[in-house]
Amino acid sequence: MTQTLLKIRNLHKVYYSRKKIQKNALNDVSFDILKGEIFSFLGVNGAGKTTLSSIIASLHPPTKGIVFWNDKSIYEDLVCYRKIVGFCPQHQNLDYNLNLEQNLIFQGRYYGLSKKDLEDRIEYLLKRFELNEYAKSNLDVLSGGYKQRFLIARTLVNDPKLVILDEPTVGLDPQVRRKLWQYILRLKEEGISVVLTTHYLDEAEVLSDRVCVIDKGKIIIIDTPEKLKSDWKQKNLEDVFLHLLKEEEKI
């Protein structure tokens, strides 16, 4: 039986501007994330995908609701929870003052990795993401695709059990996107749970075990891509998605 890694219950997120409600970004969102699955958030821009993933990453707090990990709220032992999470944000937040290797060294140190473990981990990650030749280079020399690749590598320094990838392939050419897909699929093979935020439906279809369609801060549906396609009698996920949004608009 597949075990649950995270339970997200009744999440609300309201953004305020001068004490007035500016936006209801999430509205009573509940679902589970299973161990070793790739779980994707799909939605148009502004649907609440990034807000949701940043709450799971413990970057932002919800206005209401709880994220459970090991049947305890993550806010009860935030430090422990953060040790098992890796977050790859939409906007690259790499440290341009340091070269690639130094970026990984400091990231590993933040998580308390011993010198030997850190050396091994860095060697492994640079090799795995084919970044060996750039180890001593500054980040400026890397192309967009390589930077994104490196961002994922940095996310994995602490050997997380849950990796959150917020639109990891946005703006990249098809070849690089496919390469990144391979890396993401390999995470699953290693038993790591992946929360993927994307608005590329082909990407979600290829990678996801389950997809969660979000619109205006609400979950419309959660299911496997195959089940969605058969239930809605559509050829691909993109058609299902458009169909669902149309139905939602009618309601």
């Binding site: 970057l59 932002h60 430090v79 953060r82 040790k83 977050f87 906007h91 140190r109 308390g112």
Partner: protein, 258 residues
């Protein structure tokens, strides 16, 4: 080691590491400033009728107020990191998000302290016999030195929390740094202002920098003529708490961290 403490230590370590990468250039910059002040106030102005001890007075003041000049650069860098979401990588580390901001302030304090310490022998070299250290209390100096650098760290953090628009930060110099600097007792003592007009003297007490300048001068040049050392010391800790608390409150509101 506790994961939070380790992470805190590593965050400070990173800032100090980056600081040392540009240490030489920054040391040269500030040495130029110190030499200029020392030559003008220690030698040239003395010939125009100023007391010969004024050079030492200004030199101690410039060493004590050096941290203030670092504020704008630091505030700009941190505000940029917040705007670009670069800070997000720190706010998901195994440490409370509040501590991340505290670590930034403390690493800034350490960096300022290192630079300032290097300036001290340089100041003595410039003024030599005109820089009389016979009244110096090194224990008091150590205490006020640590406190004032911590103050600059948290003050820079507070200023960073106020910077929202990086296209226009001239207000920072015009409205905050310059008035604080001009009325901090750099060119005069608090006592002289108090004797001139009690009200203006009391008004000066609202400026935290007056406690740094007066406290440092009291520790190095002797207590006579300056605000009581221990008053300066304790009031500075109060300011550190106020600026630190308010900076984190503002960042919490702006960044919306856990």
């Amino acid at each position: 080691m506790n994961p939070s403490i380790n992470c805190f230590f590593q965050l400070v370590r990173r800032e100090v590491y980056l600081f040392f990468k540009s240490f030489l250039s920054r040391f040269l910059d500030i040495s130029f400033v110190l030499c200029t002040w020392g030559i003008v106030f220690g030698y040239l102005m003395v010939n125009s009728g100023l007391k010969s001890s004024y050079g030492a007075f200004i030199l101690v003041g410039s060493i004590a107020s050096f941290g203030l000049f670092e504020t704008i650069q630091r505030a700009t860098c941190l505000a940029q990191d917040v705007t670009d979401n670069k800070i997000d990588n720190f706010l998901i580390l195994p440490i409370s998000s509040y501590s991340v901001f505290v670590s930034i302030a403390i690493s800034w304090a350490i960096n300022t302290a290192i630079l300032t310490l290097c300036l001290f022998p340089l100041g003595k070299l410039i003024l030599w016999g005109r820089f009389d250290l016979s009244h110096a209390s090194w224990v008091k100096f150590a205490l006020i030195f640590i406190t004032s650098n911590l103050f600059y760290g948290f003050f820079a953090l507070w200023v960073s929390s106020m910077v929202t628009n990086l296209r226009n930060i001239s207000w920072l110099w015009c409205r905050i740094i310059n008035p604080l600097y001009m009325f901090c007792g750099f060119f005069y003592t608090w006592k002289s202002v108090y004797e001139l007009a009690h009200f203006i003297g009391y008004l000066h007490l609202l400026n935290p920098l007056i406690y740094i300048l007066e406290g440092t001068k009291a520790a190095i040049l002797g207590q006579r003529g300056y605000l009581p050392f221990w008053n300066c010391f304790f009031v500075l800790w109060l300011f550190i708490a106020v600026f630190g608390f308010d900076a984190i409150r503002r960042f919490k509101k702006r960044v919306d961290f856990v």
